[in-house]
């Protein structure tokens, strides 16, 4: 079958974007309000990245914050970057700007303390943002290769339909993309627990399989070290009402979405750059927004998010496509959803036909079609943290 054409943005560093945002990134929580006001003044390109971190963090958390923000600055869905600094924080504004410049895109920095307060920094920020956004308006989409796409596969608000309909449909899309030379990324380590044998058997090297097992054992060990039972959160109360009994059951249903035959080619840390074609597993928590934030940081340009109960999650720079296999949710949460694949369960549609529709939706969204989350302004962003704020 001939591959459909995707229209995206070719970046100077060779990566490919499916959106062309002006990223307005605060270095620290204290700069988040200014960043949001500046981004809001330059629609539709302005995308703020408000977050709760950037100071008072120790070693590994500071590293995660820095690397995640830098990854967004270098992300191919971003055409230009404006860093809003405070002036006394831990995150280094120059590090973020350099990440964008290394990827060949313009980046500027404004510091609230040196501008002389919120009003002046906001005004100056809008002035700079307007100039950067105007330059982005001149960029045109061009035909790109499917092999340059990294698809984030995600599920949330799962119920019994997720593992039976939406995740298998998404898995077929992942298979097809990887067959075309592209990449899929799967996170949520706790939700691989109980299904890791299926992924490890597809590892392209013993080391990759061993790293997957190692991080799953770490997550399981963390619950053990706390003396806690992971069942308090996995499956969630909503999952259990929906008929999911154990984390193993949830995982087996969830892992389908990474494809049926995709080779497990890499295991990367949170927000770590995804570089190998095939299936990558990223070390993320199960919390939806933290998980999507990390996988987009790793380079995923587009997200397909399956849901049984319905959920609104979006992302500031990557389109998030929502699909459900639950016919009731398709009606009750219609404004949050892009695709209804519930026909798989009542024989109105085959799994292959649903997967074909989803594949077409992914292509269309990558070429510019807006998702429900984008239309509704869902731009959730949360950087994973492992330790207390000091």
């Amino acid at each position: 079958m001939s591959q459909p054409s995707v229209l995206g943005y070719r970046r100077p560093d060779g990566r490919v974007g499916v959106r062309n945002h002006l990223l307005v990134v605060p270095t620290v929580i204290c700069a988040s309000v200014v960043a949001e006001r500046v981004a809001a003044a330059v629609p539709p390109r302005g995308a703020a990245l408000p977050h709760l971190a950037g100071c008072g963090q120790l070693g590994p958390d500071m590293y995660l914050t820095h690397e995640t923000l830098a990854a967004y600055c270098g992300h191919p869905n971003v055409g230009a970057v404006l860093v809003i600094a405070l002036g006394c924080e831990q995150v280094v504004a120059q590090y973020l700007a350099d990440s964008a410049r290394r990827a060949g895109k313009p980046a500027e920095i404004i510091a609230i303390q040196s501008e002389g307060g919120t009003v002046r920094a906001t005004a100056r920020g809008i002035e700079v943002a307007t100039r950067l956004a105007a330059a982005l308006d001149r960029d045109e989409r061009a035909s790109i290769d499917l092999a340059s796409l990294i698809l984030c596969v995600k599920c949330g608000g799962s119920d019994y339909t997720s593992g039976l309909a939406a995740n298998p449909a998404l898995g077929r899309v992942a298979d097809r993309l990887v067959d075309a030379g592209g990449t899929a990324v799967l996170g949520e380590i706790a939700e691989i627990m109980g299904a890791e044998h299926l992924l490890a058997a597809r590892a392209t090297s013993p080391d990759t399989g061993a790293r997957l097992i190692q991080i799953i054992s770490r997550v399981e060990g963390e619950a053990r070290a706390l003396g806690l039972d992971i069942r308090g959160t996995q499956p969630s109360p909503g999952n259990i009402r929906g008929g999911l009994t154990t984390i193993e059951e949830k995982s087996l249903g969830a892992t389908h979405k990474g494809g049926e035959h995709t080779p497990l080619s890499d295991v990367v840390p949170y927000s770590g750059r995804i570089t190998r074609r095939g299936l990558t597993v990223m070390d993320t928590p199960g919390l939806d927004v933290e998980s999507v934030t990390g996988m987009v940081g790793g380079g995923a340009q587009v997200v397909v998010f399956t849901t049984g109960l319905g959920t609104p999650t979006g992302n500031p720079i990557a389109p998030v496509i929502k699909i459900t296999g639950n016919a009731r949710t398709a009606v009750s949460m219609a404004d949050n959803l892009d695709l209804d694949v519930s026909g798989i369960l009542d024989d109105r549609e085959t799994l292959d036909a649903a997967a074909d529709r989803l594949f077409t939706e992914v292509i269309d969204v990558c070429s510019g079609k807006l998702t429900a989350a984008e239309r509704l302004g869902h731009k959730e962003f949360a950087i994973h943290r492992r330790n207390p704020t000091i």
């Binding site: 058997a201 090297s205 069942r231 996995q234 009994t245 154990t246 059951e249 369960l345």
Partner: protein, 109 residues
């Protein structure tokens, strides 16, 4: 629409695609059985007798261990199945955290 779906031939449970009343007879490819208690939509029903301590199998893999004897046609959920994973509450060394790895990962592809 099928009343319930069995995913793998190894499974000892089916998933109800609609609410099932007690007494209803299900003629599934995998088994013919009578529903012995109400099964909510999306919940699982035992295809055959599962004894306490035996694995409950769905998607062809273990999803946990039965904590009580389960009759064919009975509701299978948190009241009679326990997860074997992430169980810090069972104390250090009470269970192996080594995942069930059937085969070592292969090279290639």
């Amino acid at each position: 629409m099928k009343p319930a779906i069995v995913i793998s031939s190894r499974d000892n449970v089916a998933t109800a695609l609609d609410a099932l009343d007690a007494g209803r007879v299900l003629d599934l490819d995998a088994a013919k059985l009578t529903v012995v208690e109400p099964i909510p939509r999306g919940h699982k029903i035992a295809l055959r007798a599962i004894r306490a301590g035996q694995e409950v199998i769905k998607y062809g893999s273990a999803i946990g261990t039965a904590t009580a004897d389960i009759a064919p046609g009975a509701h299978v959920h948190t009241h009679n199945v326990a997860s074997d994973r992430g169980r810090g509450d069972r104390g250090e060394g009470a269970h192996g955290i080594a995942p069930r790895l059937a085969e070592p990962p292969e090279e290639g592809t």
